[in-house]
Homo-oligomer: 220 residues x 2
């Protein structure tokens, strides 16, 4: 993998791991992320909703050591301060997080991702976004406050309405990964399919393989 990330790395044809430390137990998050990177994860989004700020920084720095070594971007979920303090590659925000405009003032050159959960969210999406997280494609138990599932047709409708890279998330696994890609996702993001997998490296490799073979079969 590359030693340095290209400027404005774009999450096309990438497997993104969104972390959930509780699903990793009894393994540590570092162990699971390390295995997932070996399996072919191309972006890590660190999501922590319960950690104190200091512990979040410590965890981010531990994960950053892995992603930097793998040449893969580390994106922090929600917390601009953590992204700034650790010098993360990017920040991913949801509809109730900081606005993209506020984020861009402090992270002019970093990757900024925005979650959208509907066509209305897409139409309201501001400038300055590098990629869209489209969620949830399928029903998921991982995110307690997730909206109604978009389904493959909902994903396809969003695909038809934007040229921004789409990272699909929500209930995605090896059994449906190809269908999601064929309905317009550029990249796939998973939580439980890797964090809860018996073999996170193998799970990542299988999903990364789906993305690679699908991207090779598409004209773009």
């Amino acid at each position: 993998m590359a030693d340095r990330l290209p400027t404005r790395w774009q999450p096309r044809h990438a497997l993104c791991l969104v972390t959930d430390g509780s699903l990793c137990a009894p393994r540590t998050l570092v162990e699971v992320v390390s295995a997932a990177l070996q399996g072919g994860v191309g972006m890590v989004q660190l999501r922590e909703k319960k950690l104190d700020s200091r512990a979040f920084v410590e965890r981010a720095r531990a994960i950053q050591a892995l992603t930097a070594s793998a040449g893969v971007p580390l994106v922090i979920n929600d917390r601009l301060d953590i992204a700034l303090v650790v010098g993360a590659d990017g920040l991913h925000v949801g509809q109730s997080d900081l606005s993209v405009a506020d984020v861009r003032l402090w992270l002019p050159d970093a990757l900024v991702g925005l979650s959208i959960e509907s066509m209305a969210d897409l139409l309201a999406a501001p400038a300055g976004v590098d990629y869209l997280g489209v969620s949830p494609v399928f029903a998921t138990a991982t995110k307690a406050d997730a909206a109604a599932a978009l389904g493959l047709e909902g994903l396809a409708a969003i695909r038809a309405a934007t040229r921004l890279p789409l990272v699909a998330i929500g209930g995605i696994g090896a059994h449906n990964a190809r269908a999601v890609l064929r309905h317009g996702a550029d990249s796939l993001a998973v939580v439980s399919a890797i964090c809860a997998a018996a073999d996170p490296r193998a799970a990542a490799a299988e999903l990364a393989g789906c993305i690679e073979s699908e991207s090779n079969s598409r004209p773009s």
Copy 2:
């Protein structure tokens, strides 16, 4: 009050309001802060542990309109990102929040306060702190994870060991305010004594009066 804050405003002889929106109900936080500022609060620390980031920013901007108008500093609790985005006057961190060193890189000129709960915390306090929050002086039900009460003697011991401004907090009200000041506190911070008061303006005025009369009776 002053139109502009002096550089590195020091919280000496000030009444600090640390917010708890739930204690303000059925009044809004804006209503209570507004009344408290009229009563003589000299610093507001906005503490929100449950709000989404976007709602936190919105609330901070609403409170900032009040503090700016009153010429009083607004300090954000814990969240450096919120402080940066709204341009707050300062940040207050606890022992499990971001480190002062990390904060200072992003807020070189703002007020930075650090909570200490023991003599050991004082001895470990880093450079770059503008004031120390000493907590809890007395037992308090406001902060679920508060340490054991220091008592007046514990406060006095910390006073003897540092020249930094001390803002005492924890179980302080009009009934014990003078004793806290006489044991070394430069300033007093309260949560429930104002947020839960039937008349927040009058409660603030009574506490501010205690601070003013005590500071006038001391040589420094």
